[in-house]
């Protein structure tokens, strides 16, 4: 490469930068001189007569007259805004309303720097957001998402929907790189970073265009510093907005806690069910049960142990059984008397089978002292339509397990947790449907 070629690429060897010179135009409506700062401007609102002008062609034309209603903006056209060391200037202002409610106003400022492009500063209820266009797209449809819904974008970020709705443009002034018409509507969904970072992702769409933007929330103090207006926002009551990400996180924590408790209870209940050692399994005939019968002896290993006595009526269908039981120590001393009613019915109706009751009952008994025990049994049973009986018509199988743990505590806790879980789920569903 020759020396001359090296010089062509040397530092500051290029041509001096041509000066930035905004375009001067005349309003075709009133003839006033206007300055257009953005080369890309397509629409200008005459600051003198309020006419909306199309400035995209050499010949400027009047699009229409702006609305009579004037809107208050805390910042003016031409005000500076500093961001990342660069000065931007407000070149347009827009006011959007929702649901025809003129108290629900979002004010948006278009910030312009000829070397860096445009930013959007929006204010709602005293809270400020700064946004810029992005090319990052969501992985799934962002439309029709309600508050609290999550969205992932193709850059791997995860977002939580803050709110959605439909804006209507109520006022515009300054110059814009697009043609805005009062009454234009666009739907939107605003998202916040799921992890709680101070970042935003917004989707806006009209009938034929979808736009995505990224941004950040700004504190009033940051906006005051950026605009060099320390008095900005003074006397304005700032609307407290709900921290949707935090609320959603609390709901998620509550629901996950319920699920964890349910899982723990389930495990503990299973542990209880399968704890202990089977010490007796014996079957008794109807004849034995009609009389009185003692089971084989079985050991209870420790003082205060809980034993589980399971009684199953054998082959009993559409019948009932009244079963009297007693726990007898050393075949002599009755330490506990209890009884059980067993009923089991089944049939079919309209082609569908049904059943009611159970052939099996379970009792838990706390045994005060270790030793050898037996179960004393007596039973009567009869078909369902028979009101009383004097003898047993069905056999019974008895199973005794020593050293079991009572699952009652976990069962009660499970029921309470399920109630809390469903209440939380309903509240969360209602919260998602509500707009702030």
């Amino acid at each position: 490469m020759s020396t001359m070629d090296k010089e062509r690429f040397g530092l500051n060897q290029g041509r001096p930068r041509p000066p930035y010179q905004p375009q001067d135009i005349h309003c075709p409506g009133c003839g006033a001189g206007l300055t257009v700062k953005d080369e890309q401007a397509r629409m200008v609102v005459c600051e003198y007569c309020g006419k909306h002008l199309d400035v995209s062609l050499e010949e400027k034309t009047v699009l229409g007259q702006g609305p009579e209603r004037k809107w208050e903006f805390p910042l003016k056209i031409g005000d500076s805004f500093r961001y990342k060391g660069a000065r931007y200037e407000i070149i347009a202002r827009q006011a959007f309303i929702e649901d025809n409610d003129y108290t629900e106003v979002t004010r948006e400022y278009l910030l312009y720097n000829p070397r860096r492009g445009t930013l959007y500063l929006s204010e709602y209820g005293g809270s400020y957001d700064l946004a810029w266009d992005t090319h990052v797209m969501p992985t799934t449809s962002p439309f029709n998402l309600s508050r609290g819904s999550t969205l992932e974008t193709h850059d791997g970020r995860k977002w939580v929907a803050l709110e959605s709705g439909e804006y209507e443009l109520a006022f515009v002034d300054g110059s814009l790189p697009w043609v805005a018409k009062v009454g234009d509507r666009s739907r939107y969904v605003d998202f916040a970073d799921k992890g709680g970072a101070n970042e935003r992702f917004d989707v806006q769409w009209t009938a034929n265009e979808v736009e995505y933007s990224s941004g950040i929330s700004l504190t009033l103090e940051q906006v005051r510093q950026a605009t060099s207006k320390p008095e900005l926002g003074q006397g304005v009551v700032r609307r407290r907005s709900e921290d949707v990400v935090k609320t959603r996180r609390w709901y998620m924590i509550l629901l996950l806690f319920c699920v964890a408790v349910l899982a723990f209870n389930g495990i503990m209940a299973l542990y209880c069910m399968f704890s202990g050692r089977q010490v007796l399994e014996q079957t008794f005939t109807p004849a034995q049960l009609t009389e009185e019968v003692l089971s084989e002896p079985f050991p209870v290993s420790s003082d205060g142990n809980v034993i589980m006595v399971e009684a199953t009526a054998i082959s009993m269908t559409n019948a009932w059984m009244a079963l009297d039981l007693a726990l007898v120590k050393d075949a002599e001393t009755v330490v506990h008397v209890f009884d059980e009613d067993i009923q089991y019915y089944q049939g079919s109706e309209g082609g569908e089978s049904w059943s009611e009751g159970s052939r099996e009952v379970t009792s838990y008994i706390e045994v005060p002292a270790a030793g050898n025990y037996r179960v004393l049994l007596h039973a009567v049973s009869a078909p369902g339509e028979t009101p009383s009986a004097t003898n047993a018509q069905h056999g019974v199988r008895i199973r005794v397990t020593d050293g079991v743990r009572l699952p009652h505590f976990y069962v009660v806790l499970t029921i309470l947790t399920i109630i809390v879980f469903f209440i939380s789920l309903v509240l969360y569903g209602n919260w998602r449907k509500q707009e702030e």
């Binding site: 490469m1 062509r8 290029g14 930068r17 930035y20 080369e39 000829p114 860096r116 090319h135 990052v136």
Partner: protein, 209 residues
Amino acid sequence: MKVAEISCPSCGATHDVHNPGVITVVCEYCGNAVYWDQEKIRNVGKQSTLPEGFSRLYRGATGTLLNKRFVVLGRVRYSFGRGFWDEWFVEMQDGSIAWLTEDNHEFVLETRETDVQVPSFDSLKASARIVARNIPFFIEEVGQAECIGVEGDLPIPMQVGETYSFADAASPDGRYSLGIEYDEDPPTVFFGHWLKYASITMDDEGEDW
């Protein structure tokens, strides 16, 4: 090293051509464009003057692009009806050339892609999917482009009024772009990646704003 010196057939001003790929020169004094090659010079008339000062780039500017020195040789401006975009032709210090597309002050560094099958223009619609370099792209915009201004040195014959159909696509992660120009058969495809502000450093960033 200059590869040629030509005189403007309209005003007589001389122009040094440094890059051998340049075939169009727009006279910076009278705005007249000439197509130039080894054989002949063809005068194609006066071109629209493009306003300057609204971009980080400008004809004759020097700077650093992705840590390589460059100089801006020329620019083509296209209208798509609802606005316009600029395509800046730059020469790197190693002699290679590149196009920087500027749309709403965002820059895309583009290189020509020869290995992509793209659908015909008539079958294109917004959100259609195209794959290039194993990256999925989705069509964002389809339209007609019209050249509304040229300046400086260019590697293509170009003058105001030329039109072609185009489609712009973007990768969903926001990192890459795909520009399809239906100016010949098969269409010309450009693979691009969006540049961050810090990827370009201009020697003269301008203090006038």
